[in-house]
């Protein structure tokens, strides 16, 4: 009998005013009882609308049925048959606009907590003995075909996982010293613990995926050299790492960071832990410019680093904030101050070149476009200054041009996005691309979906080439 409670089982969380002083995970995860109870809310619809909302087609009702029966390992097997990164996706996917948006239970109440269940299943599995995993995850026999993957973020990891499972010899090249891409340098520990990422990556290594860190493709090696080394296909999943700035006066003052820099210092380089050497300034008052998930992450990090006042400065209103509702809600609970309809016009500095304020102009919403997004218009003469010592720019990123500019015949748009068709094939034979490197900054799961599509295109490409 289905559980007809219109509300999801609540997610246990750390108290807001406790957690905004530590870097431990905010959401604590379901207990087995809560998971089984939540799983029973699933109606097991025959037409499975939720699956169509998932970029990697997780067999959602099937795995939820196993959770309801308490067969958690079996549920895990079902999820990982299509998703290489369940512990990550369960935490950071915007389920409210994907699987859960299509859930029939959402019509008259809250949808089934699909993301929470996915996370529960993955965490349950990961807590089991690791040597046993190694046994279970014996790499399949090699089919002798080598594939190179550039970037170890969600697109690259997913592509690697899918190919390795089919016997391909996969090598991932990562520019940083640690694999994971945006999952380790961008998304903070309190939203996605790095041990969770490390475990998912370890699992891919059990499947035979090789990871070469400190390898900057486009500098250390070119794509052409990868082909010379015997790789038959290359997947570019190098993300969108190039930070955009506002191009306003004062942007190079001391105390102005790109969100990428601020988050990398904290997340990858662990500046919040005293035993690490990475320097970071302790700041008192911080303005984060932007309204997306990255802006929320940067603001919440700044609060945890000890800032007294942290502002989100965004030029539109609450309704237009591009961040997930849950992230905005968490940020507000943690006493982040939202300065909406405010557009920065200059960063102010003192004689030493240090930031002392952010000058903004008040905005109002004008005409809306077809998508319903309204254009902000400046209110003349409404300038005001926010008293801050640090400004973090989180207005977006674009793809890094390093690969497109060093690979002959690889087509890219004027924004640096690599051009790829719906099968992720680029203008160069044997070179595939997907994720943020193609779309510009988007989500983890869209990147994972692209990695998945690319994997099947690569299989098709290599098979057809070897038939000739």
């Amino acid at each position: 009998m289905a559980n007809m409670n219109p509300k999801k089982n609540p997610m246990p969380e750390q108290e807001p005013l406790v957690r905004n002083k530590n870097f431990q995970e905010v959401a604590l995860g379901y207990s087995a009882e809560a998971a089984i109870d939540e799983a029973k809310r699933c109606l097991q619809c025959k037409h499975k609308p939720c699956v169509s909302g998932c970029p990697v087609n997780v067999r959602i009702p099937e795995f939820i049925a196993k959770v309801a029966e308490g067969e958690f390992e079996e549920a895990y097997r079902i999820i990982t048959s299509t998703n290489s990164l369940p512990a990550i996706c369960g935490r950071v996917c915007p389920q409210e606009t994907q699987c859960e948006a299509k859930c029939v239970r959402g019509i008259k109440g809250e949808p089934v907590g699909i993301g929470r269940l996915e996370r529960f299943v993955a965490d349950y599995h990961n807590l089991c003995d690791h040597n046993q995993h190694k046994e279970l995850a014996k790499p399949p026999e090699s089919n002798g075909h080598k594939v190179a993957i550039i970037g170890s973020g969600p697109a690259g990891l997913t592509c690697a996982g899918d190919l390795a499972r089919q016997g391909y010899e996969v090598t991932i090249f990562e520019a940083f010293h640690k694999p994971g891409g945006v999952l380790v340098y961008g998304i903070p520990e309190f939203r996605l613990p790095k041990s969770v990422v490390a475990r998912e990556i370890k699992r891919l290594e059990y499947f035979g995926v090789k990871i070469v860190t400190n390898a900057v493709i486009g500098r250390s090696l070119s794509i052409d050299e990868l082909f010379e080394e015997g790789y038959e296909a290359v997947f570019i999943g190098s993300g969108a790492g190039l930070p955009q700035f506002l191009n306003i006066p004062g942007e190079n003052l001391l105390g102005v960071y790109s969100a990428n820099e601020y988050l990398t210092r904290i997340n990858l380089m662990k500046a919040y832990l005293p035993e690490y050497d990475t320097p970071i300034k302790s700041c008192r008052k911080v303005a984060v410019v932007g309204g997306g998930n990255v802006a929320m992450d940067a603001a919440r990090c700044a609060k945890r680093m000890g800032a007294e006042e942290v502002y989100i400065v965004y030029r539109r209103s609450m309704n237009e904030l591009p961040a997930r509702a849950e992230e905005v809600h968490h940020a507000m609970e943690e006493e982040i101050i939202f300065k909406l309809l405010s557009n920065p016009v200059a960063i102010l500095g003192n004689d030493e070149g240090k930031v002392v304020g952010l000058e903004c102009v008040q905005m109002e919403l004008g005409e809306c476009d077809e998508s319903g997004r309204c254009r902000p218009i400046e209110i003349k003469g409404s300038n005001f200054v926010i008293d801050v010592d640090t400004v973090i720019i989180a207005i977006g990123t674009s793809p890094n041009p390093l690969i497109s500019s060093t690979t002959e015949g690889l087509e890219a748009t004027k924004w640096g996005c690599i051009v790829a068709d719906d099968k992720m094939a680029t203008s160069r034979e044997g070179v595939f691309a997907g994720g943020d490197a193609v779309t510009g900054a988007a989500t983890v799961i869209l990147a994972a979906g692209a990695g998945k599509t690319a994997a099947s295109s690569i299989v098709e490409y290599i098979e057809s080439k070897n038939k000739e």
Binding site: A175, H177, N214, L221, S222, E225, N252, E261, T264
Partner: protein
Amino acid sequence: MYKIVKKRALNEAANTIEMVIEAPLVVRNARPGQFIILRLDEYGERIPLTIAGYDREKGTVTIMFQPVGQTTQMLNLMEEGDYIADFVGPLGKPTNMEGLKKVAVVGGGVGCAIAYPVAKGMHEAGIQVDMIAGFRNKDFVILEDEMRAGCTNLYITTDDGSYSEKGFTTDKLKELIESGREYDEVVAIGPAVMMKFVCAITKPYGIKTIVSLNPIMVDGTGMCGCCRVTVGGKTRFACVEGPEFDGHEVDWDELIKRNSFYIEEETEAKKHVCRLTGGIRRG
């Protein structure tokens, strides 16, 4: 892990150190003017160092440094046979040598370690190279024989006159230009202040001046924007668009300020090296 295959002091005072590191992936496409980023161990920060030399057959890269910061001091505590956790490169764009006939290369202090391979590369390419190498005093002089062999004319200056000619590199450069030496280009590598003054000398003569900038970096691949410098009124990322730029276009005062951002943290951290760890950690 990257093995230190050779370590030696470049002068008697042992204030400048050369290390040869096994890094096959770096050496394959390395060229003069490019740099690497290293991280000593799990707890280390990432610091950029310019490539001072490389041996493609042996797969090794040479770096030179003065142990003055936390990371370089700790690096100096490592010996031959030890391993560095991370060593990535080559990063940045290589030095342009095309179309040049007569060049003055100005190196300041440890900057000579980087200026030397540039001078040598140019000299080997048939370019006439005057090299001016400046040091604080006699104790800091490095690579004299190597530099002499790697250029057409070598001029060494010391700030206090304790070795060779007394004065700054800028004095010598000015003297050479005024004596009628003609240069297609001046290359200046050293402390930002020195590069700034070299540019001030060459500007009135309209001599194109290339400088190798050393801003603070994290990733070195264009991802963090920490290394942004204003060149010709535009923000540029030194790690991917540089490190070499037209020195007459660089906003030097901004660069010097930006490089001082973590000076307090650095001072504090250095005390930590001396007092507490006393040696390298093993992460």
